[in-house]
């Protein structure tokens, strides 16, 4: 589904991603962990098409197509979804109108007829229940005045509505209490299938107790320095990241 090869990217002439390789197949859940400032959000931004990032080397294939050539909206229409670490507030754009517009444009792109109002309403109700997203919030301005947790849940609600094939969750768990965390995790578990895939960026092993990943990668200083299975997450939880930093420093020293 997604193949990342030797991806290098920079922002404002600062090298952030320094050669990322990652392959994600349909049906898989990958977790990406790593200390603050490693480049996790940057990787998500580059995949979603944020224009402030320059890709200097490497390639990314999404369902066989060159992802990096696409506009951000095209990536979304092709099935990529990023749940933002910091969802922004857009006063004056109602949540529901925003989703209606998004679904409309995605369907047009795919050559599908517009979704009728009734079907849209049914879908909204269904997904809202799935992620236990307050009906009141659906009609309000996009994220305006939402609590941190409500914003994160709105991201998952949007994910449920748009039904992407590849979802990237950027620290959706941070700022969530244990109940909200469980709801988000249940949502993801209900949405997962053998046709879609998830990349879950997280700081804590906590979320991975609810969403069992197939693979765990550790991103540090713009590189994936270690990959493993879910046991790696536990190991990180116990030992912290210091030993990794040591290891990668040694590696770097030997490669010079």
């Amino acid at each position: 589904m997604l193949i990342i090869k030797n991806l290098h990217a920079e922002v404002e002439d600062k090298k952030i991603l320094k050669g990322i390789d990652l392959t994600v197949n349909a049906g898989e859940i990958h977790a990406i962990m790593g200390p603050n400032g490693s480049g996790k959000s940057s990787l998500a931004s580059v995949l979603a098409g944020r224009e402030s990032y320059q890709v200097t080397e490497g390639e990314v294939l999404f369902e066989g197509k060159n992802l990096l050539e696409m506009e951000p909206e095209t990536r979304a229409r092709e099935g990529l979804f990023l749940a933002f670490q910091y969802p922004i507030e857009i006063p004056g754009v109602s949540n529901i109108n925003f989703l209606k517009t998004a679904i409309g444009e995605i369907r047009t792109y795919k050559g599908l007829p517009p979704m009728d109002a009734k079907e849209f309403l049914r879908l909204t109700r269904e997904k809202q229940k799935l992620v236990e997203f307050d009906a009141q919030l659906v009609n309000r301005s996009l994220n305006e005045g939402f609590s941190g947790g409500e914003k994160k849940r709105n991201e998952i609600f949007q994910l449920a509505m748009l039904q992407p094939s590849l979802s990237i969750l950027d620290e959706t768990d941070s700022g969530l209490d244990i109940d909200a965390l469980r709801i988000v995790a249940q949502g993801v578990n209900k949405l997962r299938s053998d046709k879609n895939a998830f990349i879950i960026i997280t700081h804590y092993q906590r979320l991975l107790e609810y969403i069992i990943p197939d693979f765990v990668h550790v991103l540090y200083n713009g590189r994936i320095v270690k990959s493993g299975t879910k046991e790696l997450a536990l190991e990180l939880e116990e030992k912290g990241y210091d030993w990794l930093k040591e290891e990668s420093r040694e590696q770097e020293a030997t490669t010079i």
């Binding site: 979603a48 098409g49 951000p72 909206e73 990023l82 922004i88 857009i90 004056g92 754009v93 301005s141």
Partner: protein
């Protein structure tokens, strides 16, 4: 000094001619005379006048204009213009003024007791002075209007009368030759009375025809009275619209103004003055200007706090497309006597067109010491983060921009108390943000 004489403007001869005709025949001769002398002194404004520094009207004055309106508008054109001004699902009384003259017809049922509507030309023939004297200060065009007006709309709501349904006044301007008209209106909301007025200004001009509307509206909101006043300016290319609104607020009165200017008219200059002449008044001025093409849209507002314990709040927002120019000048004047004044002002602009510009200038003059005043002015572009968020959900760039423009305008549109009017204005806004405007 006679500034007017020194200005080489094709209109000059006609103005003098029309004035001399009116000064011997029409009513209120003394007031006309002093207004004309004032105008002679002021002349037409140039960029040397502080209030017109960013609004150069020289090119519009180069055209010739007749001062006599055609006797009747073309009916076919009229129905089209009325359809444009119609606000779907609005329960209202409706009247139409063509080139500033009301035909006396009212739509939407009979007017309730306590409100009277007259042509100014009829009201003038009654004994006594209709208009109170004003020296017009630096209002060049108001002075010209007060010298040359012949008609307009007079409204009076009697004390303690609440008019539930809004009154929709459609101003249609149409002519097949270049024309300058001087409609003059006077609206009086008596003690403890309430009224809502929605004005639509539309115009239909064929080919190269130009029309200059020099409108003067005086409003008196008496003690404890309330007036909601919506202005929808959707006049067409070829129109030069100067709209002066002077509001006299008496004790504990409330005046709410909502001014919307949309693409079309070559020039729009709004002078809105709220004169808070007695204590404990409340004033809200909301404005939204969406400009396009080569439009020049200038909003000059004055909130004149003369007495203590008055509250005023102003929010104007601008979206500037293509090569259009916007001007906002918000003056708040707090007199020495006006203690315990609360005066707030905000002007925010979204400059979208690469060649669009805005001059935004708050002007606070405060001579009382116990006051709360604040003002803010911003000029910005689209938020990259907001744009990216929308695009990352599959929304195309053009649609995303249209959504953000509507969202930006929302702070103002949501203030309108009539949902049908809010819907209408939102549709008008969307209609003017086609895909190719975005760049």
């Amino acid at each position: 000094m006679n500034v007017l004489q020194e200005q080489t403007i094709p209109l000059y001869g006609r103005i003098v001619e029309k004035y001399s005709k009116l000064s011997t025949t029409a009513a209120s001769q003394q007031a006309r005379q002093s207004a004309f002398h004032r105008f002679q002194l002021l002349g037409f404004p140039t960029i040397k006048n502080e209030d017109w520094k960013y609004t150069n009207i020289t090119r519009f004055l180069k055209d010739e204009y007749a001062l006599e309106a055609p006797s009747a508008g073309a009916p076919a054109e009229l129905s089209e213009l009325l359809a444009k001004a119609a606000i779907p699902d609005l329960d209202c009384y409706g009247i139409v003024l063509v080139n500033g003259v009301w035909d006396g017809k009212i739509e939407g049922g009979e007017l309730p007791k306590g409100i009277e509507l007259h042509r100014v030309s009829d009201a003038l023939s009654q004994p006594g002075d209709l208009f109170t004297n004003d020296n017009w200060g630096n209002l060049h065009f108001a002075a010209l209007n007060a010298a040359l007006y012949t008609d307009g709309l007079f409204i009076r709501v009697a004390a303690n009368i609440v008019i539930e349904k809004p009154l929709h006044i459609v101003h249609v301007y149409t002519s097949d030759y270049n024309l300058m008209v001087q409609p003059r209106h006077l609206w009086i909301v008596d003690r403890n009375a309430q009224l809502s007025v929605i004005e639509s200004t539309v115009s239909g001009l064929s080919g190269e025809v130009k029309i200059w509307v020099n409108n003067l509206t005086e409003i008196i909101v008496h003690n404890d009275a309330k007036l909601d006043h919506v202005n929808l300016q959707t006049a067409a290319t070829g129109t030069r619209l100067v709209q002066q609104t002077i509001v006299h607020q008496k004790k504990q009165s409330l005046y709410n103004s909502y001014t919307f200017t949309l693409p079309g008219a070559d020039l729009v200059r709004n002078d809105l003055q709220a004169r808070l002449e007695e204590d404990h008044t409340e004033t809200h001025l909301y404005g939204l200007y969406l400009t396009a093409g080569d439009q020049l849209v200038d909003n000059h507002t004055l909130v004149d706090h003369q007495k203590p314990h008055c509250f005023s709040n102003e929010l104007y927002k601008g979206v500037l497309l293509e090569r259009s120019t916007g001007v906002f000048n918000g003056k708040v004047y707090v007199h020495k006597d006006a203690q315990k004044t609360n005066a707030f002002q905000q002007n925010n602009n979204l400059v979208i067109g690469k060649k669009a510009t805005i001059d935004s200038k708050p002007e606070l003059e405060i001579f009382a010491d116990d006051v709360k005043c604040s003002h803010g002015s911003t000029v910005g572009q689209f938020s990259e983060d907001a744009l990216f968020y929308l695009r990352a959900r599959g929304i195309g760039e053009a649609t995303a921009k249209a959504l953000l423009i509507n969202a930006f305008a929302f702070d103002v549109t949501e203030k309108i108390k009539f949902p049908a009017v809010e819907t209408y204005i939102n549709q008008q806004i969307s209609h003017h943000i086609p895909v190719n405007h975005a760049g």
